[in-house]
Symmetry: C2
Subunit: 677 residues, 2 copies
């Protein structure tokens, strides 16, 4: 609600006054009364509405009413004027014996002004939503939404649209949020009045506003063609350089569209909220600034970057082609084809031998009622694949965002195999309908150790809608959470299972083999250049057992955190039979863990089809006991296990199927703005 605006009224003068429909003018009657005034009366034309405070006893205000020290006249207008000064109000002042001492006359012009947005989030810019000036989460919430214009309309000489102060293509407008200025009133505003759109200095870092150039009204066709093709058809209205600019008043009943462009994602120093204001300015005199006499404000929230868990439908699968991974590629192609998705191959000229497609980037998306598109988060890892996200993924309706870190601050934990997201969960009654982000760090108690760099962590936390969980992954040589955990869809319970690598489960399988008389079955049988070990040798290796106790201990620590932070029960977790070994780090100061045989938890999840690193476990009757155990654990959930030989081209290079692939997935049906925060 707009509070009444103080209006000065001088007696014996006629003043022209602008009034915005829905707002009120407050006249202090005593302040401008002629000396010795004791009474007053008020008269007006029909479209003027007024009230007097304190309420006079008399019903008619045409005859004198006693003037009090604090007598106030509140004036409003019920509808827009058709012509300037088409409404009138006069105040007459009287002396002791009701003689007229003076008379003030107001000529009133009323306009309707409304800066409008899609505050109810239905894709339509409604008129003057009462809640447009604030933002509220939830299905009963309100407030408009802005996308970071982080894609590019250009296919060549690319540049993020948000980095350009121009609307390069008409299609670029679709990434922006429409804001309408609706006005109603006389053909033009009274002399000197104007409309101004404005933002604060702080918000200007995060938003830009464009408008459609008004057609040349002189009817100069050439000029309009020139505008259309060679000049800016969409002039910039507001930016970090222009915090305030006049916008045209079109007259009559008019509507003008503006296009609002988000420039940056929520981050540590930006909560995502932006206000845009539209004011009516009143002229005073040359050399004096105009006074804002009415301000309408709309609020936007910049859409967060959202990650997609394994339970969402895949759209595209990405892998690298290298000189040595032909067999792997063939298996992946077959799995992806069988699952019915598209396989994208990043060729060697682009990947330059870097096969870790999972680590260089993370797929996500941004979503608004009017538009949704995928956005790749580019890791500060910057391996030889570093150009791939920008040069191959960024494009029309495919956004890009990154966070730059000092080279010294970047470790293996900044690879995005160390950035995952859970399916939707409910934890102690709190819903996370978009799941929770999961990252790996050093123990919070560690005096040294590797960590995910602060700029990326700050970014992830600031998105808010998938509140992150920090796990302990620094115990791993490579250090990624995808080395010990993943999620698969399930038809029952919470709709998914958490799969965890488990040395205990591994030893159980090996002990079972020995007990069943297969102590001489061999791990890695058939793999040349690989030392083969029998089940007995593995079970009798006390050192290995100790190392795996430690690994189980580390995983259990994370298991406890995941149970607590995702609200999981034991039945939501499946322990996969995987053994690890410890190896000294590069400085030979500490020992860290690597999978002993292909790390089956590091799988690709394509709907119900799982592409699992082939473990080359001991065989019983020709069948790998580890594969058999995996199938036994997972097939009951309707999942289909495909074992992919990644031994030479991935496992020996310290990664597996998941590390070497990436999946872009469909967005959630759930809309992030419907979250209750």
């Amino acid at each position: 609600m707009n509070h009444p605006r103080t209006l000065r009224v001088d007696y014996d003068q006629t003043a022209s006054v602008m009034c915005v429909v829905g707002s009120e003018l407050n006249v202090n009657l005593n302040r401008s009364a002629p000396p010795s005034s004791k009474f007053f009366s008020v008269k007006c034309t029909p479209s003027v509405q007024y009230s007097i405070i304190p309420t006079p006893l008399k019903e008619s205000h045409l005859s004198p009413i006693p003037l009090h020290g604090k007598s106030v006249l509140l004036i409003g207008m019920s509808r827009a004027s058709q012509h300037e000064n088409d409404s009138k109000l006069s105040i007459r002042y009287y002396g002791e014996s009701e003689e007229v001492l003076g008379r003030a006359v107001l000529h009133l012009t009323a306009v309707e002004i409304s800066l409008d947005v899609d505050a109810d989030r239905d894709g339509v810019v409604e008129k003057n939503n009462t809640n447009k000036g604030s933002w509220k989460w939830g299905p009963n919430g309100h407030g408009a939404i802005l996308l970071v214009n982080c894609d590019t309309e250009r296919k060549f000489r690319k540049k993020l649209d948000s980095e350009s102060e121009e609307v390069s293509e008409h299609s670029d407008l679709k990434d922006m949020t429409v804001m309408a200025l609706r006005t109603k009133g006389p053909a033009k505003l009274p002399e000197g009045y104007k409309l101004t759109m404005h933002i604060s200095q702080g918000d200007a870092e995060s938003v830009r506003v464009f408008k459609l150039r008004s057609p040349d009204t002189t009817g100069n066709i050439l000029k309009n063609l020139f505008y259309k093709y060679f000049e800016k058809a969409f002039p910039l209205v507001l930016s970090s350089k222009v915090l305030s600019q006049e916008v045209p008043y079109l007259g009559g009943t008019a509507e003008m569209n503006f296009y609002v462009e988000g420039l940056r994602f929520p981050d540590k120093d930006f909560n995502g909220l932006i206000r845009i204001n539209l004011s009516l300015l009143e002229p005073i005199s040359t050399g004096l600034p105009e006074t804002p006499i009415f301000t309408d404000t709309v609020v936007f929230r910049v859409a967060p970057w959202i990650m997609t868990p394994n339970t969402l439908q895949p759209s595209e699968v990405f892998v690298c082609s290298t000189s040595d991974n032909y067999r792997f590629l063939k298996s992946m192609r077959s799995l992806v084809a069988k699952s019915g998705y598209k396989l994208n191959i990043c060729h060697e000229y682009m990947n330059r031998g870097d096969r870790w497609m999972q680590d260089e980037l993370e797929f996500g998306y941004i979503d608004a009622p009017h538009k949704q598109f995928p956005v790749v988060l580019d890791s500060p890892r910057d391996g030889k694949l570093k150009d791939f996200p920008y040069s191959q993924l960024l494009g029309p309706d495919f956004g890009y965002v990154t966070r730059m870190a000092e080279e010294d601050d970047v470790s293996s934990l900044d690879s995005f195999g160390n950035l995952e997201v859970s399916p939707p969960v409910t934890v102690n009654g709190k819903d996370y309908p978009l799941g929770r982000i999961i990252i790996g760090v050093a123990f919070p108690t560690a005096t040294k150790g590797r960590n995910m760099t602060k700029v990326v962590q700050d970014f992830l936390w600031a998105q808010k809608v998938q509140e992150p969980i920090a796990l302990f992954s620094d115990w791993l040589y490579v250090g990624h959470v995808d080395e010990f955990m993943t999620f698969v869809p399930a038809p029952d319970r919470k709709g998914f299972r958490l799969l965890l690598a488990s040395p205990d489960a591994g030893y159980k399988v090996f002990r079972g083999l020995r007990n069943a008389g297969h102590g001489q079955a061999k791990l890695f049988e058939g793999l040349k250049d690989e030392e083969q070990k029998t089940v007995d040798e593995i079970l009798d290796d006390e050192g290995l057992r100790g190392e795996n106790n430690y690994v189980q201990h580390c995983i259990d620590w994370n298991r406890d955190v995941l149970k607590r932070e995702l609200g999981l029960d034991e039945d939501d977790i499946i322990d996969l039979p995987i053994l690890f070994k410890l190896v000294p780090d590069k400085k030979e100061e500490e020992f860290r863990a690597l999978a002993y045989y292909p790390d089956m938890v590091n799988m690709i999840v394509l709907g119900k089809n799982l592409g699992i690193p082939k473990p080359f476990g001991p065989k019983v009757n020709g069948r790998c006991a580890l594969e058999a155990e995996m199938c036994a654990l997972l097939e009951g959930l309707g999942l289909s296990c495909t074992f992919i030989n990644d031994f030479a081209s991935y496992h020996k290079l310290l990664g597996e199927v998941h590390c070497g692939s990436n999946v872009r997935r469909e967005a959630f049906d759930f809309k992030w703005w419907n979250l209750e925060m």
Copy 2:
């Protein structure tokens, strides 16, 4: 609540286990059972408490219970151990025909660990407050409080205590918040276990933790003396360089105090909340990081910087002595003495001719249950008085804070005559028991104009407890809100009145004079070198009238904002009779306002005594009509008006009494943490 920790238990082994009283251990019975186990039983010593999930039908757990796939044993300890491994629990596993297959034995050692703070804000560090891990505003809220250690214990070669990584004086500890580590258990922790205190990288920018050095237990008196006098008696535990450090476990029932020091005020990138953690670490093996098996966390909020409105009791008044202000000083000395406060004079060697004591600094304070002290906010104005706040005010229990801005960003609006604070108000049901900060800026719609610099605005908004209001002050030549408004105490209504400069009220006085036959009375009578004007001349000056209409318009705009944002009625406002004139700005591009005669609203408020610039208005029967009007308006509120001649030494230099003085005031009785946010 601490969730149960997963514990691995191997059969046919005896394991030593640490358990923190109040936490639970979760043993997956099936995971570590011998192959073919079908039943189990549990036995323990009295201080061990356990439960089995699913709950077995049998009452006695000494005889075999069926082993399920997901059987879980939850173990807790009811009290701290006196000796290592003084409690025991054993699990026996049985086969199909109840033959014993294996037995796991746990030797348990229990400790009590509690990191404690004054979470209930009563000045006492209570034991293990259940709410210590979160922060909540309000009288029913909780969470500990930290002060920015922004004073200095040193009187010479000063440096902010927060800028030093040492506790220089014992008294410095009083500015810190005590945090206690309380432990109970055996004389020492089992081999390899240790306690570690830790903070996150983000929090480490804002906090430091010290402890008292433990006395040398060898009884070496010299060594202890050495520690006491020559070495750090209070070693640094945590800082931006050390995020995690081991802290001693003292054994038995012990309590160790830590001292927590706040390093920076809430700001745009810091919400003021800080977490400190204490973990118990379990050893694994050389070369492997210890695992945190229990973590206790406490939360602090850094106390905001709070301003003091005119309605609070003064403690000290500050003015500058210059070569030309002897008479002014004398009047001020007399007023301050009469009011019973202390006058501090800043001498010329320090002020170097800069007399604008109001503009260089703003007094405020910080407050915690254990300590409160004044803090000066130093303006980026940095006139010749710039060294005064640091070199003269900063001291023991007198803090200092500033915000640096680029020289180009600093304008006259950064002087703190442009930073004021209202008395406590309630606005549409929302309480502001500490009032609201008021600053002056350009119109939000202005395309050019001066503003208060962003770093200072960000700081003020981030303090949160006195939510700022931005007024329009750029219409003034000097540009400070104290040129058109102030607050005075009042015995009735809201406890105060807002005083506003009002040209309309001024003209009313002048018209009244003419009507009463005093049209020839002179403004500035008796002032040499000043052009004297008669009442008639003033009233007949159409240009002046126009300029004052504009000024009234600007003030009315602010009046509307103040009424809305402070929830004021007309009766809460008094309009003071003050005329302005417009003068061209330095570039002669725009016109801005200056007071035509001494600006009476720019007064010093010392309880009920007001020190008002002497207006030199037209005299009637020897009495200044403007002074008479001021007294008539204010004395009814029990206020006493003293008119101070500041004409030559302040008014002619474009300031008045308020600009040339500053008042340090007592803190609010209301505690900021009791605010409902």
